[in-house]
Point group: C2
Chain length 352, copies 2
């Protein structure tokens, strides 16, 4: 088994001092070409590998970025994470992942991550953190980026939730629907609250009276209600309203929409003939299921989050930047926009 070769071994072998070895290893120009060659030759021959942690200790930096993510089983996080990972490795950093079940848990991880020198920067995903943690972070002076959440003291990348909900709802109304309901996630989630606002504003702006009975949320609390069962449950509740039931719905996530669709199917409703639906996210299945939805540029958000974080790392005094992406309406079949068009006869709907 390969013994651990250090710069001392190289130095001895090449007949130089360790300082010089270190220089060539770090491409420091002030080394005679000949010496340089000799040293790198030896290094290669001994298949030298630097000791990362010794370097990090001496250099006083970690070349590591960590991401704290509420469990990344969801497509949204996956996609963002993909962008993050791509950019992180492009910059040559390591990515260490902390999965938390819920924002509350984040605190433990924050403490871990705050260990001096451990990471050069942290990204928090969809994390509404208590003020105490926020100020801990702030005074730690560590570069921090927020994705899908906002706080005045840190850079953030987010999505215009209210705006997206507004667009989705308006689309439904423009299609002629007057009785439109909303399936929301739990109100503890900021995106959920914002989307509700957008929904409400759209209704009111179109002269349709808003009422709390128009909004339901399932009991399933996983992912703050952004889960399939929650959608199923909420829709079942709506169905129970009988003739009072809206015939168009804005649903706060695609995954809930799929649950809702299952409920609708079960009860014999057709989509979009009987019920029109618009989701939110544009996860991969949405395309598959022909779901009309609001697209969030997830991958891009990840990329930008890292770019921003890296610039802050190199320039801590940069002014704080908040970037908001606007979701795009992707019209497919579930909203019924194509119902009477020739291209997409309703009888061919995939949404049964």
């Amino acid at each position: 088994m390969a013994k651990k070769v250090t710069i001392y071994d190289i130095a001895r072998e090449a007949g130089v001092g360790i300082g010089t070895v270190s220089r060539v290893l770090n491409n420091n120009p002030s080394v005679a070409p000949e010496t340089r060659n000799r040293i790198s030759e030896v290094a290669k021959r001994l298949s030298y590998q630097p000791h990362t942690y010794a370097q990090r200790l001496a250099r006083q930096q970690s070349e590591t970025i960590s991401a704290v993510i509420p469990f990344f089983t969801s497509y949204f996080f996956m996609e963002v994470l993909r962008g993050v990972q791509e950019k992180v490795s492009e910059f040559g950093y390591d990515l260490v992942l902390y999965g938390v079940e819920h924002a509350d848990q984040a605190e433990n991880y924050v403490a871990k991550a705050l260990q001096r020198g451990k990471v050069d920067g942290i990204l928090f995903f969809s994390m509404k953190m208590p003020d105490r943690v926020l100020s801990m972070l702030k005074e730690s002076n560590l570069p921090v980026g927020l994705v899908d959440s906002v706080s005045p003291s840190f850079d953030s990348i987010s999505v215009a939730n209210a705006e997206g909900a507004y667009a989705a709802t308006s689309h439904l109304v423009e299609l002629g629907h007057r009785k439109v309901g909303m399936l929301n996630a739990r109100s503890v989630s900021t995106p959920a609250t914002e989307r509700l606002q957008g929904f409400r504003r759209a209704l009111e702006q179109q002269g349709i009276p808003y009422s709390d009975s128009l909004v339901k949320c399932g009991k399933s609390t996983r992912h703050d209600g952004f889960n399939r069962d929650s959608g199923y449950e909420a829709m079942m509740d709506f169905i129970a309203m009988g003739s009072e039931m809206p015939n168009a719905f804005f649903i706060s996530s695609d995954i809930q929409a799929f649950g809702a669709i299952a409920a609708l199917n079960e009860k014999g409703f057709r989509i979009p003939e009987d019920i029109a639906i618009v989701g939110f996210d544009d996860i991969e299945l949405a395309r598959l299921m022909r779901l009309t939805t609001m697209r969030q540029p997830m991958f891009q958000m990840g990329v930008l989050a890292i770019e921003r974080l890296v610039s802050r790392m190199s320039n801590p005094d940069m002014e704080i930047l908040h970037t908001t992406f606007s979701p795009t309406l992707i019209v497919r079949e579930s909203c019924g926009a194509f119902m009477s068009s020739e291209g997409m006869p309703s009888t061919k709907s995939r949404l049964r």
Copy 2:
């Protein structure tokens, strides 16, 4: 901003030597209770945080496990990763993630990861690595675990692909189908090859002649052909066979199955009335789409992978273990098994 406080600061403040400080910080029992209290009090007051890399350098271990994953955009990896992450943090290790586009790239990362002391163990996902890399790893003497791939010299966790394919195909045949085809992924992928073998064996065992024309693979190479477009393309090819087209298919992944279903829908075929389908993976959408499929215990695989790796780390001479999970057949509607049962009238199929 918090200055960096070291054990020297604590020692001075508490009027003791750094050795003692280190001891209480590491819960070394041989410290007088009173001293201990005083020290930990000071540590808390100064809100001391250890310097991870100094510790790692001194301890000569990293408390880090890394996972090399071919881009984890797929549900399969996500799920496995979820299990991995959960277990890793349970053991108190850090998880550093390396995303690679393809196995070939793995080599760079292997080199990075092999930097002395960098990680205590590595997990490779679905990675068919060149022998050169394999032996590099072997002689590095670093604990390594393979997930979804197998090699004699390392622990591995995998799925009985051939067996699963066999079961899936047999199920189709038992349902009365004689003309059954297969949509495969690219043959560079080991799982793909194994599933093909299972398919073939099932056919032959049931007295149905196998022919290469029964198997097709789309042109899309992303994820080795385990992608939606590939399924779509392959099915289109089958459809082009006209009356020669099989009326039942085993498809090597759910995601391909969805592509195939789209193609079928487009051409007016009904599922399962006209065409029966069995997929592989049991991703979340499979349930949603009522797809009959072979379930892989993804989360569990991740958990076990870490457990195994950790035991190897603490006991390097443990004999090499290969664990194979058997996929389970999950019968839903796409195979047509319920077509004539009362519970699930074919007219209610969601698979159009």
